[in-house]
Amino acid sequence: MNNTIFILGVGAFFLMMIGLYGVLTNRNVFRLILGLGLMETGVNLFIVGASYWKGGKPPILGTVFETKAVDSYADPVPQALVLTSIVIGLGVTALALALMVRLKETTKSIDIIETKEEEVNE
């Protein structure tokens, strides 16, 4: 068992769970978005951590590079996935904040649960 990986895995898992707690216990949209952000960060750490092994160096080819030395580099694929996932997270967060601003403009509150039935005007 590798200590580094254990710490990373447990840390990522707890980060996700703290985020989930934030999502479950709040009705305030802003805090919901913050909780989702924590969960996203946690799962990103988890993706890189799940494929990490001790002593993984940045996967950038140096001046001298033997085919055997491949083993000293960290796995590049999860890193590429996480890059994508971070940018997607930014998109979702930005749109969620725009929705929050709209909600505040239309209802004067940022509570996700409606106080009374609202009519649709189409």
């Binding site: 769970m17 216990t25 799940a50 950038i60 491949v70 998109g91």
Partner: protein, 246 residues
């Protein structure tokens, strides 16, 4: 949901995760690997299409891919279609913001104090030059189009907040041409080599700035597009002048 129920649910999930973890210990295949699988090994030795395993170092030529940063090679070349999707995610989010917040009324932005207003263009220029370096060297060193573009947007935001200017319409045109350019690069690959987003520009020397035209073009496109998108989208969030909102 009340707090006790939430804690209970989280406890349940944690217990489940612990159970999975323990049951995995004597499992057939362990969670953790201690080396590369076939796919990541092929990416690193640049033999995904069955080439022979070369000694790869700076200065090697005619490999299937000439990026010395393997993550960039994966993001832009081996999994380039994901990156097109990623650009589209941001594009969709910014379009959504435009649809929701882009009112027809003109909002005036209150400029910051004199010190910040006079400093803002310089700080912005510095950030923009740094980020141009980051996205042009994406295939050599860590960085690339997304952080580079995001930094340009940050520089632009400083300018907006400091000087009170608004996002000009030209950004919309950059968004359009950036997206179309990405697809054009893909279609060129389709027409010349037979599959979408295939590298039709050849690959040069590993580890040089102009060694990889394909990756350079793609990261430049992404950098400009992300910068334009984020600047115009985030501009919508800038608070309007005091007393104007109701």
């Amino acid at each position: 949901m009340n707090k006790i129920a939430a804690i209970f649910l989280i406890g349940l999930i944690s217990a489940g995760a612990l159970g999975v973890y323990i049951s995995n210990l004597p499992g057939k295949k362990p969670f953790k690997r201690n080396g590369h699988n076939d796919i990541s090994r092929a990416y690193m030795t640049k033999t995904a299409n069955g080439g022979k395993r070369n000694v790869i170092k700076k200065g090697d030529r005619k490999l299937e891919n000439s990026s010395s940063n393997i993550v960039t090679a994966v993001v832009l070349d081996y999994r380039g279609f994901d990156t097109l999707g990623e650009v589209t995610v941001l594009f969709a989010a910014i379009a959504g913001i435009g649809l929701l917040l882009g009112g027809s009324r003109r909002r005036r932005i209150r400029p910051a104090g004199p010190v910040i207003s006079s400093m803002a263009p310089w700080i912005a220029a510095f950030i923009i030059i740094t980020s141009a370096y980051i996205f042009l060297h994406g295939h050599l060193s860590p960085g690339g189009g997304f952080p580079g573009g995001a930094m340009i947007a940050a520089g632009f935001l400083i300018m907006v907040l400091g000087m009170g200017s608004r996002a000009p319409k030209i950004f919309k045109t950059i968004e359009t041409f950036g997206g179309l350019a990405f697809i054009t690069v893909g279609v060129i690959g389709f027409l010349k080599k037979g599959s979408f987003l295939q590298n039709a520009f050849g690959s040069g020397e590993v580890g040089t700035l102009f060694g990889s035209i394909f990756l350079g073009i793609l990261y430049a496109i992404i950098g400009f597009k992300v910068a334009a998108e984020l600047s115009s989208g985030f501009g919508e969030f800038v608070a309007e002048e005091e007393g104007k909102h109701e």
